[in-house]
Structure formats: C-alpha cells, structure tokens
C-alpha cells in the first residue's frame, strides 16, 4: 500500500507536472517554428491527412502554428495553463485521430509534426502522440507550481 501510495504520489506530483509542462511547451514551440516559416508545406501536410476541407486547409495552416506557439509560450510561462493545455490537448487528440484514420486507411503520408519531409506516420507516432496527450492531461490536473497566475496569490497576500 505504501508503494502504491508512493507511486501514486510520485505520479501525481506537481513537479512532474511542471516537467511535463516545460516539455510539451518546448515541443509545441519547436514544432511551430517550422510550420510558421513554411506555411505552404504545412498546408500540404494538413491536406495529406484528408480531414480538413480544401477551403480551410490554408487558413488552418496559417493559424495552427500560431496557436501552438502561443499556447507553448503560455504553458512555459505558466499563464492560463489550463486553457492552453486544453487547446494543445485538443490538437494532440485531433492529430492522433488523424494519424489513426490515415493509418487505418493506409495513406502513405508523413507525420509533418516537425518537418514536411519526415518520418511517415505509424503506430509509433500514434503512441507518441498519446503519450504527449497523457502528459497534457497530467499537466491539466496536477500542474500547480511556477505559474505566473500564482503570482496573484502573493499579490493578494501582500494586499
């Protein structure tokens, strides 16, 4: 029982959530850099998933990297963590579903997560995205430290 409790405590520890938060933030910021610079290529990647209608692919390619970078920054800074991680979790879930669908349909597409020409989608990619999604959920529930919003609590105490 003690071991289980220790493991449970370790898994739900807020520092673990903080590490996950920095990790996810770094991944998304990093991924968004390429996507912002190469919008057309990212649009092709989105189109290759055959999920988004053709009239929304370019707009999504323009907006999605910025959503990623802003959420990554907010996550890194600890501002509106839950909203940011919720958005990122939704994106990860969407990506995972897209990859899963394309895997099932046998589409020979690349992941396009970080580069246009990258590894093709695979179950490994699905697992990776699911791990990231798990991290996001952990962050959503257990991340409580080093948040800029907590600065307000100090301010309140001072007041």
């Amino acid at each position: 029982m003690t071991v289980i409790r220790f493991v449970k405590k370790g898994l739900t520890h807020r520092y673990l959530a903080f590490v996950f938060r920095l990790y996810i933030a770094g991944i998304f910021i990093y991924a968004s850099m390429y996507k912002i610079n190469y919008t057309a290529e990212f649009a092709e990647t989105i189109a290759s998933y055959q999920i988004v209608p053709y009239w929304g692919v370019n707009i999504l390619a323009v907006v999605l990297p910025w959503i990623e970078v802003i959420c990554g920054i907010l996550l890194f800074a600890g501002i509106r963590v839950r909203s940011a991680i919720a958005i990122l979790s939704f994106l990860l879930l969407t990506f995972t579903i897209g990859i899963y669908i394309n895997l099932i349909s046998g589409s020979p597409i690349s992941c396009g997560c970080f580069h246009t020409i990258g590894e093709s989608i695979s179950w490994r990619t699905v697992v990776r995205d699911m791990i990231w999604l798990g991290m996001s959920i952990h962050i959503f529930f257990f991340d409580k430290i080093f948040q800029l919003g907590q600065r307000f609590s100090f301010t309140l105490k001072e007041i």
Binding site: V62, V63, W66, I87
Partner: protein, 620 residues
C-alpha cells in the same frame, strides 16, 4: 416726680377742706345740742353756759388736734411714724394714760407695733403677739371673707379676748382696715383724769382713726410712688446705658457699614477688571479715598520672571526710584525670605516693621505703613501708604480694614493672574485647535484616500481573485482569445510573408474546366487516345494509380513537366485526375498545363476512387 408733689399738696388741701367741713358739721351739731340743753334748763343758764363753753373748747381742741394730727400725718410717708403720731395724738388729745397700735401689712409682709405708757413687760408680749392679735380680730379675713375697705370700728371692752394679755385697764379697742391686705388694731387705756370715754371721745377716736387710714393710704401711695420713682430712675439709668450701648453699636454698625460699603465699592469696581495694572490702579485710587492717605503704592514681584509691576498715587515721579535689576532681585529675595520665615502662605498678608525690615535695601518709595501679601509661591506684592492727609495716624480699624481689603485685592489679583493664564491657555488651545483642525482635515483627506485605496484594493483583489479563478479553470474566453490572437498573428504574418499562402482557394477564381466522366475516360483509356495524368502526391501515385497514368504532382510540376512532358504535343488530349477532400490537385495541374499551352486538357472529377470502384485496370 415733679408732677406728683403738687398732686400731694392738692390732696393735702382736699383733706384739709374735708376736715374743715367735718369740723363745721361737728360744731353745728354740738351747737344744736347746746341749744336743746338751753331749752331744757333755762334756769341754770350761767352754769350751763360755762359748761357749754368748756364743751366747745374741748370740741375745738379736738378739731384742732385732728387738724394738726392730719397735717402731721401727711407730712410723713413712713407708716411707723404715722402710727406713732396717731397713738400720740390719741393719747395726748384725750388724756389717756396708755395705748398701743398693731398693724399688719400682708403685701409688704410687715408688722408694725407702737406702744405708749405701757410697762416693758406688757409691751413685749403685745409686740410679739401683735400678728396673732390682729389675726384674731380679723378672723373673717382668715376665712377668705372680704373685709370692707377704709373701715374703723369700736370694739366694746367686754369683747376683749382673754387669750391675749392686754395691758391693764384697756378701755377701748378700735379695729380698722384699709383693705384686705392692710389691717390694724388700736387699744387705749384709762384716761388720766377720772372718767370714761364718752361719745365725743369715741367720735374723735373714730375720726382720728379715719385720718390715720387716709394718712396710711397716702403714705402707702407715696411709698409706692417713691418706689415707682426709684424703679423709674433705675430704668432710666438702664435706658441711658442702653442708649449709650445703642449709640456705640450704631457707631460700630456705621463703621461696619462703611467697611462693607468700601468692600462693595471695591468689589464692584474690581469685579469687572481683568487686567492686573488696572486692578492695581483702581484699588489704589479707592483705598486712598477710603483711608485718606496722601501717598500710596503697590508693588508686585514675580519671582519666576524676575519682574516687578508698580502703581503709585500721590507720589511724584522724581521721588520714585528706578531700580536696577540686581536691586529688584535683592528686594524680591528679601520679601520671599520674609514670607518663608514667617510661614506666610498663599493668600495671606502681614504688616511689615517699616525701616527695620528693609535695612539697607533700596525701595522705590518710602512708606509709613507697608503690608506684604503673598498671592502664590512665586507671586507676591507690597502695598505701602505714606502719611494721611489729616496728618494723623492710621487707626486700628483702618488698619484692620486695610488688611481685609488687601485680602480682597489678593483674590482679584489671583483671579486676574488666573485669567491671564486662562487666556494664554485659550490662545494655545486655539492654536492647537487650528492645528488639530488641519490634522483632522488631513486625516479626513487621508481617510478618504484610504477609502478610495481600500475600494481600489477590493477591486484589485476581486480582479486578482477573478484572474486566479480564471487561471485555475478552463475559460472559453481564454480559448477564444488565444485563437483570435493566433488568427490575427497568422494572417498578419502570412500577409507579410513572401511565401505565404492564399487563403482563398484558387479554383474559386478560375473558370470551370472541361470535365470528362468515368465512361468517357474509360473509353479514352482503352483507346489510348488520352494521356492520364495523376496529380496526387507521388506517395499516393506509388501506392496505386490508373493504369498508364503519369504522375505530375503540383508541388513538383515544373521539374516533372520539364523531365517528362517537355516533348509532349500540346494538342494531345490529357485527362487529369487526383483530388481529395483537402486538395484539388487535378485542378491545379490542369490549369498549369493549360498555362503551358496544352489546349485539350480535361478534368476527371471521379478520379482514382471512382476508377478503382468501377474495377477498371490499375497498375503501372
């Protein structure tokens, strides 16, 4: 007293007039008797005339004796002398050998006794028992019966009581009363000449006794008058003493009134004053008027501040000495030392001993009388007076009045000092009130500011709490905001990016290309009349494609066209296919081919999916 004497004289004259009238009656009665006798004995006229003459002489003698005795009676006021004269007159006139008179005066509680011609052994028991003798014959008075006033009555010798040892041969007894309080008894012995008491003798004795009663009344009245006069004199003396005392008291009251008036005047004048100098001037002006002093001064010494305050009246300025500060200090120290030595507490005053007190100490003014008064521990004064205007000395009363007024002055000076202190405190208080008002204003402003800040704090706190709550939960607003910002940034960046993408699909702007359906496409394929171009990405082409199709993805159009389509006839019919939900690759390639001069290019919308579903040949 002066009026009583003529009245007594008048009374004497009246008695005398009555006596003359009585004598005339007596004479006429005797004359009538003699006439009667003449009628009865005409033959013995000569003898009878001689007897009548003797009788008349005797009567005249009785009358003269009565008159003389009456004169004698009224010349005395002593009852004892009157009784003695009465007895002597009775004995002398009638030629009686012995006699006595007893009298009891109950009012004065006195008993009188007079005896003549009696042996000593007879006098003593009578004198001793005189009271009892009288009481015996006035037994009805002892029983409470009122006696007739002014009555004289003969008692027969047979009635003489055997209880008392009356003198030998007492022939007649006369009981007489003046009133219930004054009673008497007269006893007379035998006549010297042989013979009994006849009616004339008895008549004479009764008349004499009535005269005695009148004389005794007169004497008692005179004694009463004399007593009253004495009492009146005593009362007069007491009255004079009382008047003298009243005069003295009146003078004392006048003096007290003057003092009180002085107090009142000074109190009235000083009561409205609050300034020390004005109090001193007014007091000095009034006190020299009350005492009649020619010169006077008041000097106040303040030990704390080492200052003096002086007010003078009747002293010329050249006679006033202006003292340097060290001499003032010396004078102050001397006065306070004197007060301490004599234990002169606050609100007390003491007269100084003049020059012997000051010694060599220089004073502003020389004075005859000086009084030192202490108002409090650090504040005392000197009041001095020169000679009086009348060149006389001050009386003890004036000095007493002066001391009292000085005490009065001390109270006013203390009040003035207190008033000055209060005024000073009021000014300080006013200043402090102003400062306090400013402080209160500042405090009010600060409080207002604090309230504003408190409200701001509450708002900030509320906002922060709101922000914290927001940060702790998912906010649709945040998500919308993030998405909106991302959209804005993406659009701006894409607009500024030279390799940005078009947000509007290009096929919406182009003409609708010529289409070919599945059956026609199959026919063309079977006939080999058309070149099938697969516009999908190479990965999809490699995965599967329409048999005989050539891969020309839009992304690599220029490179692949140059490699594979450079020598192709522009009139060659080309059927382009390859689209999905996200991309219309076929349209892009079609328009690019058209732009390269190929005129017979047709779009196969069904594409690979319809071809494959129809079971048409696939493969390389």
């Amino acid at each position: 007293m002066e009026r009583l004497i003529p009245e007594n004289r008048q009374l004497g004259l009246n008695y005398r007039r009555v006596f003359v009238m009585e004598f005339r009656n007596y004479y006429e009665r005797n004359q009538f008797c003699s006439n009667t006798m003449e009628n009865e004995q005409p033959k013995n006229n000569i003898k009878y005339e001689t007897d009548d003459r003797n009788e008349l002489d005797r009567r005249r003698f009785h009358a003269d004796s009565l008159l003389d005795t009456r004169r004698e009676f009224f010349s005395h006021s002593d009852q004892e002398k009157i009784i003695n004269n009465y007895l002597l007159s009775a004995i002398g006139t009638l030629g009686i050998a012995s006699g006595f008179v007893c009298m009891t005066d109950k009012e004065a509680n006195k008993h009188y006794f007079a005896g003549r011609g009696l042996e000593q052994d007879k006098i003593e028991p009578l004198e001793k028992n005189s009271k009892k003798v009288v009481q015996h014959y006035f037994s009805e008075n002892q029983r409470g019966i009122s006696l007739p006033p002014m009555e004289a009555r003969l008692i027969p010798c047979e009635d003489l009581s055997d209880h008392f040892s009356y003198p030998h041969k007492t022939m007649i007894l006369i009981r007489w009363t003046i009133n219930n309080e004054c009673l008497g008894l007269t006893g007379l012995g035998e006549k010297i000449l042989p013979g009994a008491y006849n009616d004339e003798d008895q008549k004479f004795l009764l008349d004499l006794t009535y005269n005695l009663l009148s004389a005794l009344i007169h004497a008692r009245a005179a004694n009463s008058i004399r007593k009253l006069k004495f009492e009146l004199q005593t009362k007069n003396l007491e009255l004079e003493d009382a008047v003298e005392q009243v005069e003295k008291n009146r003078a004392d009251l006048d003096r007290r009134l003057f003092h009180l008036k002085s107090f009142y005047d000074i109190f009235h004048e000083l009561s409205g004053l609050k300034d020390t100098n004005r109090i001193l001037e007014t007091f000095l002006l009034m006190i020299i008027g009350i005492l009649g002093a020619g010169q006077s001064y008041i000097l106040l010494l303040d030990r704390k501040e080492k200052t003096t305050c002086m007010t003078c009246r009747g002293i010329k300025n050249e006679n006033r000495k202006k003292l340097p500060q060290d001499q003032i200090n010396t004078m102050i120290n001397k006065c306070f030392e004197f007060a301490e030595v004599h234990k002169l507490g606050p609100m007390n005053a003491l007269r100084l001993a003049g020059r012997s007190f000051w010694g060599n100490t220089v004073r502003p003014v020389e004075a005859q009388i000086e009084i030192l008064f202490v108002i409090n521990d650090s504040y005392l004064g000197l009041i001095g007076f020169g000679n009086k205007i009348t060149r006389g000395n001050f009386s003890e009363d004036e000095l007493e009045l002066l001391m009292t007024l000085v005490h009065h002055l001390m109270v006013f000076l203390d009040n003035a000092k207190s008033f000055e202190t209060i005024q000073r405190l009021n000014i300080d208080l006013e200043k402090r009130n102003i400062e306090l008002g400013k402080t209160i204003e500042h405090l009010t402003a600060s409080r207002h500011k604090i309230e504003v800040l408190e409200r701001a704090k509450a708002r900030v706190k509320s906002a922060i709490q709101g922000e914290m709550e927001k940060a702790a939960r998912i906010s649709a607003k945040d998500i919308i905001l993030i998405c909106s910002v991302s959209l804005l940034l993406g659009l701006v960046f894409n607009y500024a990016n030279p390799v940005g993408v078009s947000l509007i699909p290009q096929n919406w702007l182009r003409k609708t290309p010529s289409l070919i359906d599945l059956q026609w496409a199959k026919l063309k394929h079977d006939a080999g009349a058309a070149l099938f171009v697969d516009a999908r990405p190479a990965e999809f082409f490699r995965q599967n494609h329409i048999q005989g199709a050539v891969n020309l993805p839009p992304a690599l159009f220029d490179f692949v066209y140059m490699m594979n389509f450079g020598n192709l006839d522009t009139q060659k019919e080309i059927i382009v296919y390859g689209r999905n939900i996200s991309r219309h690759y076929d349209e892009e390639v079609l328009f690019k081919l058209a732009s390269r001069g190929h005129e017979n290019v047709k779009l196969f919308p069904g594409g690979f999916t319809a071809w494959k579903r129809s079971g048409f040949p696939l493969g390389p």
